[in-house]
């Protein structure tokens, strides 16, 4: 039955893949079922939670909203593509960015799309499509900040600056313009334990 479909060719984590799947099959299912990469998670199936975030040509997208055909010719990166060696992965594990872990792969990829030194505004906006129910996001911010320090040494890893991480399914509202953001930078530096 699958043989009836024309192959869809794309680059997955640096390797060329060719798959005969229904062109409207969700990229999420293609990755999890046809490619066996279960690091990409399904949280809602409607593009709201961001657990299925992957990078398509450097942009963070919700794989549950992308039909397989749309990946043709694209460079797709999943959490497995970071091979556990991206500075963000270590930072998330060590600085409270991951608790239950189900949002973590998507969160890390969305953060990776922001590049190594995002401002707090960029982080807040860039991760607005990734829901975490455990951390209150503070641990995520801490991890991203620590990654910033770590990745200065590995400048070569810097992402394309134009990759803003805005997703097609990005979340409902922009920050209210009447209310100035009181914390323009990541505020964790001032934290201390008493």
């Amino acid at each position: 039955m699958t043989a009836a479909y024309r192959p869809i060719v794309f680059t997955l984590n640096g390797r060329r893949v060719s798959l005969r799947v229904h062109p409207l099959k969700r990229l999420l299912d293609v990755l999890r079922e046809d490619c066996g990469l279960t690091g990409t998670k399904e949280g809602c199936g409607e593009g709201e939670c961001g657990a299925c975030t992957v990078l398509v040509d450097g942009r963070a997208v919700n794989a549950c909203l992308v039909p397989a055909a749309q990946a043709a010719g694209a460079k797709v990166v999943t959490i497995e593509g970071l091979k556990g060696r991206h500075p963000l992965q270590r930072a998330f594990a060590e600085h409270g960015g991951a608790q239950c872990g189900i949002c973590t792969p998507g969160m890390i990829l969305a953060a990776a799309a922001l590049g190594p030194r995002p401002t707090m505004d960029e982080v807040r906006t860039g991760l607005a499509g990734n829901v975490c129910r455990c951390t209150g996001y503070e641990g995520v911010y801490r991890a991203i900040q620590k990654q910033e320090a770590g990745s200065r040494k590995t400048e070569g890893r810097r992402q394309k600056p134009e990759a803003t991480g805005r997703k097609p399914g990005a979340r409902r509202r922009a920050p209210n313009s009447r209310i100035p953001n009181p914390e323009p930078r990541i505020p964790m530096l001032r934290r201390r334990r008493t």
């Binding site: 497995e80 992965q89 129910r133």
Partner: protein, 746 residues
Amino acid sequence: MSRAVERNVVRKDGAAKAAGTARYVGDLALPGMLHARTVRSSIPCGDITRLRLGFDTSGFTVVDAGDIPGRNVVPLITDDQPCLAVGRVNHAAEPVLLLAHEDRERLLAATVDIEYRPREPVFDAERSDRVFKRVAIAKGDPDEGFRHADVVIEGEYRTGHQEHLYIEPNGMLAVPENGGVTVTGSLQCPYYVHRALTVLLGLPADKVRVVQAETGGGFGGKEEYPSMIAGHACLLALKSGRPVKLVYDRAEDMLATTKRHPSVVRHRTGVTRGGRLTAMAIDVLMDGGAYCTLSPVVLSRGCLHATGPYRCDHVRIDGRVVMTNTPPNGAFRGFGAPQTQFAVEVQMERIAEALGMDPARLREINALRPGDTTATGQVLGDDAAAREVLRSAVARSGYRRKRREYRGTNRGIGLSLFFHGAGFTGSGEVKLQSRASLELTPAGVRVLVASTEIGQGQRTAHAQIVADALGIPYERVEVAAADTARVPDSGPTVASRTTMVVGGLLKECAAEMRKALGGMTPAAYLRAHGPLVVTKQYEPPPGLAWDDDTYRGSAYGSYGWACDVIEVERDPVTEEIRPVKVTSAHEVGKAIFPLGARGQIEGGTAQGLGYALTEEVVMRGGAMANAQLTNYIVPTTLDTPPMDVVLLEKPYAHGPYGAKGLGEMPFDGVAPAVVNAIRSLGIDLREVPATPERVMAAARIRDSRLRPGDHERASARQAGFGIRDSSITLRQRRRTAARKPWTGRR
């Protein structure tokens, strides 16, 4: 060697979760596996008159109640909830029939027609006459207390449902093997599932094996309902003889599984002009939904926290939880305490407004101190820290200064003082008889407990406790999967008990093992003496007595204490309330894993902000009408303000290294702090979530020159003319009118 306790070690599950290699139930697949689906009722109450399969059943496994080999119940407190409905349905989305098929497309395309004879449903808890449980707590003589009051204040406070919204929906994978069944899934309490399966399947205990897969959040939502899902998966697996995976999608999870109990709490409080509480009469009503589940215990905990962390000699608390034809409500972080502490903290704010007193001062006057007694007569130990957390949060947030500065602006600031009892209520821990084990390995030691890692850091905290008690490096402690074939019953992973109670047992195990080792390395011991396993069972600390009939005694071994100060901004056009800053001081006994403790506070606070502001479960015809993330709004990065977290430590004598329970407490105080911040804007809100619609509809004083508290005095004046919802008696009106407004002096 550096100690592990109090150090921010690398969490045991961190690397696998960040690498994407951690395996959740949805990630598991077995050869020959069937996918499963639950057919559910579409009406809230009625009798099934006809059920017809509208599909070609070849390749399908179909299970109804007739296929249940044991008893058709999800056993818990009362066995009133069927695993599959027979004849009668009592809520929408109640499981009726189970289907399994290899091909998911065919499974989803299958149609089942169910015809009903509808019955009149009950949706309004205040009109329900079916009571699951009543609780009555009495201390002193409230009539006497009210006689000594200068002011009597009344109020009614409401909270809505809340969905847990763990990002991983529920799921189970059942495999028939060895004449029994093994089920792997997303769950908090392996032995709850184990017991449920032995009852449902009529199998001996050793033929049922329950294994926790990596679990993507729980918050109480995976305490009792996984027993139902595991039962369904096992019934299909046993009938088909093949592995069966049953994973909910988001909509089904939101429609069918448990939620936080909605509540209506009424307060009548007597207070002196100086701000001292003289009497508290509290009436608590909770909506249990269609079946009992854990409602009696939720009500109990709610009532035990209903006075808030305040001393009062004359208290009466009456609670009841009732049945409605809505999906059953169940465990959710806080477990009844958020509802009742919301009510008492908004009531305290209104008392301060009526007295013209600084809200922080009013709380300071009445805060429980060491040696004080709670409503059940429990004498508090030296670790009672209500005043410390209050002072810390007030000073650190600049609460008093900001309260003055924000007057007349669209920015408000509010506070809440709260506490949370750790461990099972009353004699619960004794009845649980929890056990924990340590097993010597060549490299070190293995923790064997039924406690589950659901993101809170259980594996890490337990390993830290064991490492230090045994005197070995943290890295040499491994934590076994929660698998009923390997680990003893350590009780459920609920009630903020995992670090304090189970961690305490592990510390005892480690101490005994250290003695047994006598300075030998694990490898040398194993060579010389063979395997070594140490097991300990829970014994209550001395002096902890509780009477279930009279509700007198020590309700909890220890309490954590906390204070939140939350600043909000009101959009004058849309009436949207946005939180802009949270300051939170938590007293936790001892932070075993400080990063984890902080994570619990920040995450619990964010979840509380959702409860306070945006998370509205819209019930229509007894079913959740907004069962999707698009319009059930949980906080995102853009909705969650910066949080300043302070950890205070007053060690608990019977916790490991002084640790108390923490997981639930951060949730308890958020909603009242938010609503009190909204009140400081002159908006008389007494209900959450504080959606723009509710804020718009709430009573207010139009004159912006009025100060917080003025609308209370205004409503006291209205009371003389018999206007409804008068909140202050005439006697109080005369007295407050004579008082000069509070000047803001400390």
